[in-house]
Amino acid sequence: MSHDLLTLVQWLSPAFPTGGFAYSHGLESAISAGQVTDAAALRQWLTEVLHFGAGRQDAILLVQALGPEADHSALDDLARALQPSSERLSETLEQGTAFARTVAALTGRALPARCLPVAVGEAATPLSLPPAQVAALYLHAFASNLTSVAMRFMPLGQEAGQGVLAALHPVIDALATEATRLTLDDLGSSALGADLSALAHETLDVRIFRT
């Protein structure tokens, strides 16, 4: 196994101090509202967030940020402008900031605060890994974190939760491959329910997660 792959796996692991466990991407309000109540509903929710929402969007931004000619500052402006709510902006920016700070401390490189997909793409540029592999591991980390959120917040056992995550592998794999063929003009979302859920989270009476 390559050294570069181990480096990326470390960066995207739950132990890496980006604080990902605190962000539910609107899933907490969907669970509170009774929109996600079991493993099947969770699988559908996550599939749609990946395929029609932030998953595909982040994969495109990440692949662009990996490009040799990438303008990371412009990509970061775009990534911020794409966020539909203040909590979603915090989610991607605070994780990206912590990610960049930690990688900078480990590598001695100057890595400014960016939204997460741009931060990961910028940090991973020197790694000799195919962009589709970087995107797949990024999406897996995103889906894994949300699965963990669900397991902490709804009646869902460890095995059922891991089953949902395993079932998302084909979606993640296909999206990561597709993202390498896409450009910024291909950005497009129809995860309107997930977005609305993220906006509604701001006014939930009781909140465990930050988004």
Binding site: V36, W45, L46, F52, S189, S190, L192
Partner: protein
Amino acid sequence: MLTIPINQPMQRSRGDAWVSLAHGAAGLRLTGLRQQGSAKCILPHGAVGRQGPPEVVFLNTSGGLTGGDVLSYAVTLGPRARAVATTQTAERAYRSSGGPAQVRVTMSIDAQGWLDWLPQETILFDGSHLDRRTTLDLGPGAGCLLLECVVLGRAAMGETVARVGLSDWREIRQSGRPVMVEPLALTDRALQTGAAGLGGARAFASVAMIGQGVADLLNPVRAVLDEPGVTAAASAPESRLMLRMMAGDGWPLRRQIARCLAVLRRGQPLPRVWQM
């Protein structure tokens, strides 16, 4: 000899309308107007120079959009100029037999200016294919209010939409940098999505407001987000105010939009062409 071209795309409509307003010695005045093809631009008589911002009304005389149509609306506002722009009726995108209809909406608002871009809803019919790009360029200190509302078919007429292609890119830039980008995309598969996607909703609206103090409107606008049949929420990331709404049908959504606009526009009446 008469030759009949085959395999040639049907002649489709072209329209291009542009209006420019700027402050002169005697107040706001019309400084440019272009109307070509199916696009028209109406400035209600006496609107310019009267109290309140003028209302610019765009109209597509072709009666709707289909594959191959090209339509362009544009407004240019000079420094400190304020205006409201809207459309005469709902825009209809009909079944397309070849390629998308292309719509370009290009608004340029110079320093300290303000534009309300409040088009009426876009109705997508089964098999329609629309590629729309709305861009608002704000100069320093300029602001805007942007509304977009998309309805799938007319539920009251028993119409269902199973096939659609929509690429609806909305972008607001300030001094050249993007501050709000919302690329709505709908496909046949997206129409079938559950709770994280459309979840059976057939009408959706987004509002984005950029400008000084817009975050102060967050709580007042949240207080009116209770229209029956509509799910809606608001947020204020950085210097913008964002609203999202979803409904099973266009009518409750229209009522919710009107109530939100009354708050955001501080009681200023809706454009006259909006028949509520």
